[in-house]
Symmetry: D2
Subunit: 459 residues, 4 copies
């Protein structure tokens, strides 16, 4: 009998019910965390005198053997293995006999599964952090490389002011930097040991929970058994983190897709990150970015779904909590593939300076003209209005701003002088914005410097 709980039951479980209840198909990935947790628990039971040295040793050796079977892809699931905990205890007992039945003393699956999940996530979050940093480094490298390129900056997707291509790349660096900080912070809430909370009331075994936490590498122990078995804040936090990171990547993707449209044509993507059409031979589609943008919906959905599930619950453990794992694992798997793909696409893109230049138009310098009037003592609100009239004039003449000669400008307002015509220079415009965070070369270089310092040395 491999179920962990059959004693009081007389009827069989309905086969569909058994299938509904089974979590092994998705919690199998916790095998390593489960075994590590059981090993530490064995040592704790031994230290508390619940297991003899001999019993403890037998269990540890058995668990090592189970570990090797998993590691060597040699573990054989049985139909009755409803979850990873059942599977591993079942196999342990097959290997070492009834003494294996002593492992679960003073422990519940409620605290066990919470421990496994946290152990797993500590590892997963470190891996995600590395992927994130690698993408940040790619953005920095490209920003440094292309600092000379000036492109149209849009607001409302309408031409606004010229900016450096690097400034655009770096804007994503800072979004990801916030993601990085958030990940570090939420990791501290993963880093709490629930083992010892039992089903909900704590364990009657006089375990040293602090020592147990240290053995497993946890920074803290949980402080309330009823909270410990039902706390899934850390899952919700990780899903929110993933969704917000997804939003950032989606915005990056939206820009990339747009910039790849030939009417703008600011960048070309490498063949390695595009695909073609089964029908249209000319097609080269920015799939990497479309999939990233699309998958952000899934990340938002996972968060919403988990919050809706948690919201409806009374306190302590309820079976509904089993629903925490699939969205979590899917979010991790999604980011584990998206992040390196985006990194690769960023590193292999080709910018087209000529197309950026072609899309710069004089209207993007209208603010500079207004600023010039401010220098003549005209209040900005008035100078803004004057230049608005200049813009209207140019549109009526179907010409661009620099096509209007001085006398035409002066017909709008007498303050215009020939020096005003110096504003028709995109480089000048960019260099004007030299405060912290601005688009002038020096400000961008300073920004790259600060970013590199935050990121630390590469590998």
């Amino acid at each position: 009998m491999s179920k962990l709980w059959g004693g009081r039951f007389s009827g069989d479980v309905d086969p569909l019910m058994a299938q509904l209840n089974q979590s092994i198909r998705f919690d199998a990935r916790l095998w390593e965390a489960d075994i590590r947790g059981s090993q530490a628990w064995t040592q704790a039971l031994a230290a508390a005198g619940i297991l003899s040295d001999e019993e403890g040793q037998a269990i540890l050796v058995g668990l090592d053997q189970v570990y090797d079977e998993w590691a060597n892809d040699d573990f054989h699931l049985q139909p009755a293995d409803e979850d990873i905990h059942t599977a591993i205890e079942r196999r342990l007992t097959e290997l070492i006999g009834p003494v294996g039945g002593k492992l679960h003393t003073g422990r519940s699956r409620n605290d066990q599964v919470a421990t496994d999940l946290r152990l797993y996530l500590l590892g997963a979050s470190d891996s995600l952090k590395t992927h994130l940093s690698t993408l940040q480094r790619a953005l920095l490298d490209q920003a440094e490389h292309y600092i000379d390129l000036i492109m149209p900056g849009y607001t409302h997707l309408q031409p606004a002011q010229p900016v450096r291509f690097s400034q655009w790349l770096l804007s994503f660096f800072w979004m990801l930097q916030r993601d990085c900080t958030r990940l570090e912070e939420l990791r501290r809430r993963i880093d709490v040991l629930p083992l010892g909370a039992g089903a909900l009331a704590g364990t009657p075994v006089p375990i040293d929970r602090q020592a147990l936490a240290e053995r497993l590498g946890f920074g803290q122990v949980s402080m309330n058994s009823m909270d410990a078995v039902s706390d899934r804040d850390f899952v919700a936090e990780l899903l929110f983190w993933a969704a917000l990171l997804g939003v950032h990547l989606s915005r990056l993707s939206e820009d990339m897709i747009l910039f790849s449209n030939p009417s703008l044509g600011f960048i070309s993507l490498s063949d390695a990150y595009t695909t073609g059409s089964s029908l249209m031979p000319q097609k080269k589609n920015p799939d990497a970015f479309e999939l990233t943008r699309g998958k952000t919906g899934r990340l938002i959905g996972h968060l919403t779904g988990l919050l809706a599930t948690l919201k409806g619950l009374p306190s302590t453990y309820n079976k509904d909590l089993q629903e925490d794992k699939e969205p979590l694992f899917d979010a991790i798997d999604t980011l584990e593939i998206i992040l390196p793909v985006i990194t690769g696409a960023i590193l292999s893109l080709t910018p087209h300076p000529d197309r950026m230049t072609a899309a710069l138009d004089d209207f993007m310098l209208a603010t500079d003209l207004a600023d010039w009037l401010v220098g003549e003592g005209i209040p900005f609100r008035q100078s803004h209005h004057i230049v608005g009239e200049v813009v209207r004039l140019a549109e009526e003449h179907a010409c661009t701003l620099r096509d209007l000669d001085l006398s035409t400008l002066q017909s709008v307002h007498p303050a215009f002088k020939s020096e005003a015509l110096a504003v028709w220079d995109f480089e000048r415009s960019v260099e004007q914005r030299n405060t912290v965070g601005g688009v002038a070369r020096a400000a961008v270089q300073q920004q790259i410097h600060s970013a590199r310092a935050l990121l630390g040395p590469g590998d």
Copy 2:
């Protein structure tokens, strides 16, 4: 070369990008729909003179062979089979040679995948409808069987008025009946053929799309090619349908879980739909209902995720739309297991009339007392206030309402007479409510009758 689109590309696709792009791991379930669609397309091409009879015959025979391979679990996927369409065309060409390359004439994966998905969903929605009706029938059968049982009716989870257990069961029948109607309605929007829309502009082949629709069993053809390739309304509708059905099942589950708590104890669940604890030997947990309640979060999340994905798109086909399938399939799979499990749990539950009776208290008849005063000509608003004072009196005396004798009632208001004491009868209270939809026996029987008529004869 098995990719459908390689001609213009020089570089290789990045391996992670290829993995990100692959949909075969979840769209393989469309194999039957894809082959049926291709067979019909072959016949349409032949009818339009694009294929000779011989060519058409060769392709049809080849597709039959591919069909058999899938049906016999004998189809071997290749690493480069990025999706089900690629896999099937690749295999077809292996089997029948270059003529297989004529199948995709005038067709795009954009209209092909939309066709496949709709074909698949027509079948899946019929299956879901059957599961739904079966659950409705179970509710009706139990309602009919237990019509004598009177239980506390709650609002705000506080005792309100006595109701029949059957009324409670039937309330879920009507929720599911609305789900049933919604499913029939949305099915009409699945039932539209997109094939012939090409990539986005229609097909240059003079196909008879109406005949094609009839051959595949579709009720209508799509009217605009740009809409046809990007319309995923039907997926969103099905996900909303699933989420709202989930909400109904979650509310049922919430009640079931509550009624199974021993302080209420109104029902016991069969062992077949409960599970135990790894730690606590006495436990018998209502997992079937907890999982149903929990999985409703996932259904809400799938809906939210898809809407978020769709919202961000420009028109026509974008690769983001590939994200439609996983939530859809998961929602269907979830309901395909939940619905029969809930049906089984309903059919096998045991109500406990004694515990229902124990939870009926006289305060639930306070409205009846107020109604009695109304019969004496006292405006309801006043009688409500009088009975409120009676209730307060009983609480102060720590007694129940029927413990207050007539003179005590009269001390609150002189209109009370001995006939008023007849209201202390739960059966009487229930029988008073005999309008359509009420809890009196006759009204409930009429309701069951109407419900059976809607449901039609069983299998």
Copy 3:
């Protein structure tokens, strides 16, 4: 004392609790529905012999007076008016004395509020339908007017094939047509009278609910009292409907914003639907479309929020249901303003044929070239590959496709003949696609004809 329920309570309600509980600030808009419902209920009570003719008349007259006060903006709310029902019954009793206290006989706020909300929504849904039809008509009118314009059709936002501007406009007509059908269908589920369900068990008054329904214009009566007081499916449905309509409008907006970017420049928006910048004098931003796109998030959020609220509930009425109104009213208000604004923006836009033409490039005819090869007997899969190589050749030569002369084409494949060069014609390409739903002129005209028939005559 104006509260409807004070009798049994001894302590006062905490002021913040009273504020939390109050719904009058958002449910006041139900005043007309509430009075109409109460009038019908009065007539039903009189018909059932519960009210004398005189009493009934007094209440009806009083309700008319309350109606006039609301209609003339002369109704004065009191601090204790916790909801619209309390306010109106309070005022009625002020006007006609204690007989006003007879109105609430056999009725509960639970069935009353559900009735009010449904009555209100029947009106609101009709208004929304009119706005929707007006927008559809605008799209049709513009599609008819601009049928000659050919523009680039995109998939993946990459050039795909040429299409008519009308086809693009019409694609949104069909999305809205589905919204229209969905609205008609869900309206049938609003159109159900809950009044008579009481608190949860039905009414003890022998009301003719069918007659009551007819008097209020409802098509059906609810069939189960416990379901009737807690059914909010129709609210969820309306919110889903709004969210999906929002998705359509968001996709339209995304295109509009993109087409307004000067690098594409396919359209200009009227000044009436754009705004400027406080800083940049040249700016003219497509705010109407950005706000529409942005507000779709809110519509998705309202749906998600309500589903999460409903999911967590046990059956029958729970106070949580009070949360149904704010998202519902906000969704309606949002669409009541967005729909006419979008209509105005569509009707006042200016397309720029020269910019559409400038964005058409020969690569969008690659499929036509492949189709030409098919006509020479080459299987499509092979011809696709051949043209892919032609595309690559053109890219290597940095020229466009029609710059490649026949001998160059023949160097890729000998099947090319001079007739192949006829494919370099965008009008020809469009006219090739003449099946139902295609972009050829005749197909588009047929589509407009069908659409007009569905829409019916205008006002």
Copy 4:
């Protein structure tokens, strides 16, 4: 002319468009932040030599006057005041003349609104933190007061093991403690000054942004102008924080509603936090908790909605971002009322020890019996099974566990001895669980001690 941007426009804005575009109805609450921001900006412009001392002084005096008008509820909005920034600049110019038009030099509404919102949120988050701490203190006080009460602990809402009422109360303390930590962390991401980022490219005025930040009390300055104007991470974070806090309060509410049901009856709520029924005189409903539970749906919806809005955007400022404020303000307002109401309800509840005792049954001691067998050397897995059979025996005999005499126990397994019967003691069971976080008195006292230390001294 009060609009800030009219110069280049010729047509009027459509009235509905103007209404759609207006944000003043919800952003008016930013008035104080807006004025403080403008005052600091004035000083920065003066320091940079852009304003003369006289001009700077005139603007500062004018802004003070505008401030007083707002503070004294004496500010009169004009129809053309589309947002709070327009309203305040318009009024300033009315008061001090054209020099007011110099205020907006080098600034955009894009960086201005982001600054205002952050300033506002710094204050709002401090207020929320205080409310949170007050609720935590209430939980601690009640936990300390009622440490003697033992109640049934549930998992799956089925009796599990006895726990202290205090442990249940404290479980919510720790959830809120995590909320508190998260709030402190996210506050650091609010605490970043965007002013100086201009529209998207930085300001051409040589402002000392670090000094500006210090003057406004910000801890940091934004590092990238394009990111600064479109970063709404902090809004999303606050909405997630609110949603997760909502989930905790919803779970508390679910328990409270359940415990108030008379079949459990563990607690009574004060009249101050309950309401009655318009129909049923006996009703006393836990509305405070139902509304809290219900409003959590709204909080989840706000988060989802904002993420969906953000996800769809290209980078920098888009008008869609105007949609950030309503959900944010509503979330804050919701919590500002819920938190003190819940605090009041917690402080005024009455626990009923007799009803808690009545709900304790011997089956909740089954684990203790199994643990006793473990002490006899029987592996836990086997002892669990043995006790499962004991449970089944008791159920078959329709008796409770302590009704089974020793010989009956021994008939199941010979290891049972009379000492085993000592386990039938709920106090003993609780005291067994004395590790960190357990339910033994000492462990709970230690937990309270740690909690108080975290919370710091009260006010």
